[in-house]
Symmetry: C2
Subunit: 340 residues, 2 copies
């Protein structure tokens, strides 16, 4: 197989203020996490670190590992093991992205070509498997069965959610509840698990573990709801991936569910044509974007996301004020206010 490498790396995007604050607060922890990631990405077969680091170093926000680090710090953790767990969280996230992009045939992510665009779809499937496996090796060496349980459960729920998403693709009878089930499992579970890892590492009582887990779940739900809204409202430059991907792939997301329900019969015919028969008329995406705007479907989705993050923030209020807790509160707002 001929191995290509991407021709150039894109310039780094400037971080929004809250992320810059976050990164400043846990800079050493994030650097340690990055070192562990590079170390654990090492393998005899060079394509593994090459392909893995293509995505891992592509300017992701490191949101999920940051949650593990922040939670551990919020609970006064002073060791180094939180960075190991954060690296695992990023590995699991990366593995799911590699497989997702193959399954969806996506060509752009974070403003760069996807791994499957550069190397074809075979290598990312196998390197994703490697990242899953390496994650469990790292956790076994860490040696805490409670931690292993959290990650194994998360992986099972995530993959089940991905299969569910596949099943409901092209199905406009998908309910908002079913949609939220997909969102919770495929996205919010890892946010929630990232939080749990930090709390369990610090041996916090179950009630506190549950509270941070719930913050993570609600934050992750909001994050994905916003993501799905951005697919109909962002510009490609800010989004970092192709606008309208969900529409092209027949994914039934919240703006569509709302616009379909609120639409006229003629509009429903349009949605069915595009999303069920995947028979896209010229200008289909433009019309879809217009419809989700006109029918108030984007506003509806953003309102749902706002409700979710407000609920999320409540979960943190009983913990003593700390820079970590405050950052998590701001992160919740960022999840809704972001434009990418």
């Amino acid at each position: 197989m001929k191995i290509q490498t991407p021709e150039s790396n894109k310039p780094k995007k400037e971080l929004p203020f809250v992320l810059a604050q976050l990164h400043a607060l846990i800079q050493n922890d994030l650097e340690l996490t990055n070192r562990i990631i590079l170390e654990q990405l090492d393998a005899q077969v060079e394509l593994i670190p090459t392909l893995g680091s293509h995505l891992i170093n592509s300017g992701g926000k490191r949101l999920r590992p940051a949650l593990t680090l922040l939670t551990a710090r919020m609970f006064g953790y002073t060791g180094n093991q939180h960075a190991l767990l954060a690296a695992v969280v990023e590995f699991i996230h990366t593995a799911t992205l590699l497989h997702d992009d193959v399954v969806d045939g996506s060509v752009t992510r974070r403003g760069s070509e996807t791994a499957n665009s550069v190397w074809g779809s075979k290598a990312p499937v196998l390197v994703g498997d490697f990242l899953f496996s390496r994650s469990f090796q790292v956790l076994v060496s860490h040696g805490d069965l409670r931690i292993l349980e959290i990650v194994a459960d998360a992986c099972a729920v995530i993959s089940e959610g991905e299969v569910l998403q596949l099943v409901v693709t092209n199905d406009l009878s998908t309910s908002e509840e079913r949609y939220m089930q997909v969102v919770s499992s495929k996205t919010a579970t890892l946010f929630s698990s990232a939080m749990q890892l930090g709390a369990v590492l610090c041996n916090r009582p179950q009630a506190e573990v549950d509270r941070v887990a719930r913050y993570g779940l609600l934050l992750g739900q909001a994050y994905q709801v916003v993501d799905d809204a951005l697919d109909y409202s962002a510009t490609q430059e800010t989004l970092g991936k192709t606008i309208g991907d969900d529409f092209q792939e027949g994914k039934i997301t919240l703006p569509v569910i709302h616009a379909y329900e609120a639409g006229t019969e003629e509009e429903r015919v349009f949605w069915r044509l595009c999303l069920e028969d995947t028979n896209h008329p010229e200008g289909g995406l433009q019309r879809a974007i217009q419809l989700v705007k006109d029918r108030g479907s984007l506003d509806y989705a953003m309102k749902r996301a706002r409700e979710l993050v407000e609920e999320a923030k409540v979960e943190l209020l009983d913990f003593p004020a700390s820079p970590e807790r405050d950052t998590m509160l701001k992160l919740a707002d960022f999840a809704v206010d972001r434009s990418y």
Copy 2:
């Protein structure tokens, strides 16, 4: 997504004598393993058990889980946990097959359509991920970190081997040593781990764990070498998958490495055309089959496989004679004598 199911299940092939003997010896254990497999395959999203059982119930030989069961029995095990570990071994095997068939674009396996032929390539990637994850959930519930380590290490080595195989595809400069490295990691590692699991479950001393592990590794190597030879010598009916798949995919296996080295310059041009440029002339497969026969390359591969199983058998000779040990000795011969 429309869910199709295969129209009919093919009639069961009659088992060769040694496999029938094996199945009789551990019938109860295999039945318990099958029950655990069905139980653990259960998920809220129906496509997961449907797709998973399509492959798991397609008449595989259950060789790898049988090795775990046999090893535990050989060491006098009387509990039920060996069946749990055997089920995990079959899950890992199934997950790798699902991903392999997607990566290779294979259409037939065990005489039936592959999962990717029936459901497309998306679902098998995700269901494979589910099987990996569920395996680790089961192992966490079992709660032995040594067992978890064996499986996590195996998964990492297997996926690394799969990536290596991808890298050396279409590369006729691949050495026999490099080929054996691919075979060891992608196939023999799981045979070896299946044996280790049985021994570690019985708390055997490390020297004994190492011995059965080495038997498994050598058996697995031989098994794959024979598999690769059969791709140029079996009939499609006995093989259960498409003859010449490796050739079509540009896989560099032992018969090819030998025939290329032993070939005339004109023959080498032919091999390069077919395997490096993947520009198959009419009758290319027939000529390749003829060449690996005429150059003694099949004989060479079978001789290597025979040497490997003889080495494998030696590893078992210091254990007291028992029906389980005897069956493993016969299994080694079967690995070479089989025609599918």
